[in-house]
């Protein structure tokens, strides 16, 4: 049994060390969060009238604006996180392993923030939570956003982050200190036996496979929120969903590049983030930026060359009208990213400053493009002669967004200080590199012990049953229990056929991913109980 070697008497990567400079940073961020909260209170009291949003049409406004832009932006950031983590696992890119947890954390934090922006945008947040659980209708593209993105995706990412962190938590739990208890709970009795290790690798492998289709679906769903609407020029496009996925990847990888660069500079032994990591990330970023520019070009050409009259007029408004500066700024930022990455590549070594610049430029482009998807279709895209509308955000909207950005940063740096953000290197990573041999090695002694195979099978059966039941619940509640699909003709079509059917769907999603936790944690529980009985 390979016991976890306790490291030095200090937690790695600055965990548990709260320097004065860091406290100052936390204080600053906290102040911004409070400012955002005050803005939110203002909005709750005065209603959404305190924002710059107004009705489409007679009021000449945009009813979805800065908040929706940032909902898409934050959900987009989450994309790259878990994708990179899953790819590292599936494609066995060992050089990239140090950024895996940063990526996972980016996903979890940005999804939490995205959910909060939704709450800021929605008129009645309390009713929203209750009514979505009670009445959510599969026919609305929001159903996917609500169940898949917010619940399923966030839960799956949290499970992934949790399970992937258990080994490091076990290592940290050996170090006495204030955080020991927290690390011990996280580790949940992890011993790092070969069996546990192979079990963990099997689980994360399956999770990674399950998460990739989920996140393609989830980001496409967000694209469908717009892409399925015929009423707004600029929205109804088959390219909408793929473009959302690609831009999500672009901004997410860019943010990961920024985070990795900051960590390399700021963390003790941050130089474990080797140059290859940055080369890999910047290459991925460059490719995604090029693909996105291609998408933009295709979209422009299609609508200007052959588009219907309204689509053409609308596209012209995008590139020459009131929001043209945002379009050109975004395009310039995308090209600028490529230029910066090229310059960085041409220099010896890596320049973190240049990489951070590239990563941030991409965020400018991502926010700009999202704004252009959301707003101009409402102000310049009415199909009846309402006249030109306008939109500019008020201080409340900006303060809430800034506050949530600060909150996200706060959560991220807070986590970095209580848990190692880089996977602690282990000398026995043979399991990852040579899984077959390792598994065989694990299995051989297991057969020797009389009660091991039966116990193993119980856990496997339970987990598989959870997955099957989970998917069944999802399918049944989607198709048979929730409100019916299709053109509705009576009031009854607006109610779910079984009350709280959406909860059953979410339960199904949760159950599927909970299976992973059960598969990893249950064997120890059983072993412990047996030990007690003995």
């Amino acid at each position: 049994m390979a016991l976890l070697a306790p490291p030095t008497n200090q937690l790695p990567y600055g965990v548990g060390r709260f320097s004065r400079r860091w406290m100052a940073l936390i204080g600053g961020l906290f102040a911004v969060v409070v400012f955002g909260f005050i803005a939110y209170i203002t909005q709750l009291r005065g209603g959404l009238a305190v924002t710059g949003m107004r009705n489409i049409g007679p009021m000449g406004g945009a009813t979805w604006a800065l908040y929706v832009t940032f909902i898409i932006f934050f959900v987009g950031l989450s994309f790259a996180g878990i994708t990179v983590a899953a790819l590292i696992r599936l494609a066995r890119i060992d050089t990239m392993r140090p950024v895996a947890r940063m990526a996972e954390l980016l996903t979890v934090v940005s999804l939490i923030v995205a959910a909060m922006v939704v709450m800021a945008d929605i008129g009645r947040p309390i009713q929203a939570i209750v009514n979505l659980f009670k009445y959510a209708r599969p026919q609305s593209p929001f159903f996917g956003t609500f169940t898949l993105v917010i619940s399923g995706y966030l839960f799956a990412s949290a499970v992934y982050l949790y399970l992937d962190g258990r080994r490091d938590a076990a290592v940290c739990a050996k170090v006495p200190g204030r955080l020991q208890r927290f690390h011990r709970i996280w580790a949940a009795g992890y011993q790092d036996t070969p069996e546990e290790r192979s079990r963990h690798h099997r689980v994360t492998g399956w999770l990674a496979i399950a998460i990739i289709p989920l996140l393609i679906t989830a980001h496409s769903t967000l694209g469908f929120v717009f892409g399925l609407q015929v009423s707004r020029p600029g929205w109804h496009s088959a390219l909408q969903a793929p473009a959302f996925v690609v831009l999500a990847g672009t901004s997410g990888i860019g943010m990961l590049l920024v985070i990795a660069a900051v960590m390399r500079r700021g963390l003790p032994s941050g130089d474990q983030l080797r140059e290859e990591i940055f080369t890999w990330l910047s290459r991925a970023l460059a490719i995604l930026v090029l693909v996105y520019i291609y998408f933009v070009a295709v979209e422009l050409l299609t609508t200007i060359y052959a588009g219907a009259e309204r689509e053409r007029a609308f596209t012209e408004a995008i590139i020459t009208g009131q929001f043209a500066w945002i379009f050109w700024l975004s395009m310039a930022a995308l090209l600028g990213t490529l230029v910066v990455l090229a310059v960085q590549r041409g220099r010896p070594g890596i320049s973190l400053g240049w990489l951070i610049t590239a990563g941030l430029l991409v965020q400018v482009a991502a926010i700009g493009k999202r704004f252009l998807v959301v707003v101009p279709s409402q102000t310049d895209g009415t199909l009846l002669p309402y006249g030109q509308g306008s939109y500019s955000p008020t201080w409340v909207e900006i303060a809430i967004i800034l506050g949530l950005v600060a909150l996200g940063t706060l959560l991220y740096t807070g986590f970095v200080h209580i848990f190692p953000i880089i996977e602690i290197p282990h000398d026995d990573d043979a399991v990852v590199r040579a899984p077959k041999r390792a598994k065989a090695a694990v299995r051989a002694p297991k057969r020797a012990t009389p009660d091991a195979p039966g116990r193993d099978r119980t856990v496997t059966i339970i987990s598989i049953a959870m997955v099957v039941v989970g998917f069944t619940l999802q399918i049944v509640s989607y198709l048979a229990l929730a409100a019916p699909l299709g053109t509705s003709t009576t009031a009854a079509d607006s109610d779910p056929r079984l009350p709280f059917a959406p909860v059953i769907f979410i339960l199904g999603v949760v159950l599927v991913f909970l299976a992973a936790v059960v598969y990893e944690l249950l064997p120890q529980r059983l072993a412990r109980r047996r030990a007690v009985q003995a």
Binding site: G47, Y135, T490, A491
Partner: protein
């Protein structure tokens, strides 16, 4: 069961907007909120220009995009053809508003008490009124309608919920015409059962050339326009939007 619809004769309309006024009075809509809206728009190039008018209530579509996208079923289609908004269930996400090609949805951006025709909390007004705030709440608008008993008449115009033209459900269920129909001095607007071949509206639709707005959106609206022509890409609004709430 009757399935209601509206017929609007554009050859009669002179853009007086009495229907808008009647709608505001009947439904007590807040400032900036027009459930009925009359377009005044211009077409053509000088000197061959023409000003046209087009009253635009909610189209009460049979394949309503707003009903499709509502995440909680607050917006729903009634068996009598009306598209209704349940104020109790609405969560204020405003998806119906972006999905609607006609721009008929009006969101309640704030608690409307201070922004009706007169701001009763204004110090100058309260000097005269002695601080009294008249009752705005029309009990008819607060009632529950239809066999499903849901509050769909827009009573109270609660902050953060969506509103739109209800075809005056409180009058229709009482066998009266909607307010705009009753008020129009030129009988531009007709209301009735489109499923009954002998009704006035069915006869008009059958005997006169007509169109429906943005039919290629596939929304299948229940409002028919007689005479005139559908506004196109070249139509220009001749007045600025009012963004104050």
């Amino acid at each position: 069961m009757a399935r209601y619809g509206m017929v609007i004769d554009l050859e009669r309309c002179n853009g007086c907007r009495a229907c808008m006024e009647a709608c505001k009075v009947e439904n007590a809509t807040p400032r900036g909120s027009y459930w009925m809206y009359v377009f005044r728009f211009e077409q053509g190039k000088y000197p061959n220009t023409k000003v046209s008018f087009l009253p635009r209530p909610c189209q009460h579509c049979d394949n309503a995009p707003c009903v499709k996208v509502c995440p909680v079923g607050a917006r729903y289609k009634r068996e009598d053809g009306l598209v209704a908004t349940d104020a109790d269930r609405c969560i204020g996400c405003r998806y119906c508003e972006v999905a609607c090609p006609y721009g008929v949805n009006t969101f309640n951006w704030k608690e409307p008490s201070e922004s009706y025709y007169l701001n009763w909390n204004d110090p100058d007004v309260s000097k005269v009124s002695g601080g009294a705030v008249p009752p705005y709440r029309d009990p008819d608008l607060d009632r529950r309608y239809g066999p499903e008993h849901r509050r769909i008449a827009g009573g109270g115009h609660h902050k953060d919920v969506m509103d739109k033209c209800t075809f005056c459900v409180q009058r229709v269920e009482d066998d009266r015409d909607p307010a705009c129909v009753q008020t129009c001095p030129l009988s531009v607007i007709q209301f009735g059962d489109l499923d009954n071949p002998d009704s006035a509206v069915s006869t008009l639709v059958r005997t006169r050339a007509n169109f429906r707005l943005l039919e290629d959106s596939g929304t299948d609206p229940r409002v028919y326009y007689l005479g005139g022509q559908e506004p196109g890409e070249q139509s220009r609004q001749i007045e600025a939007p009012e963004a104050e709430v």
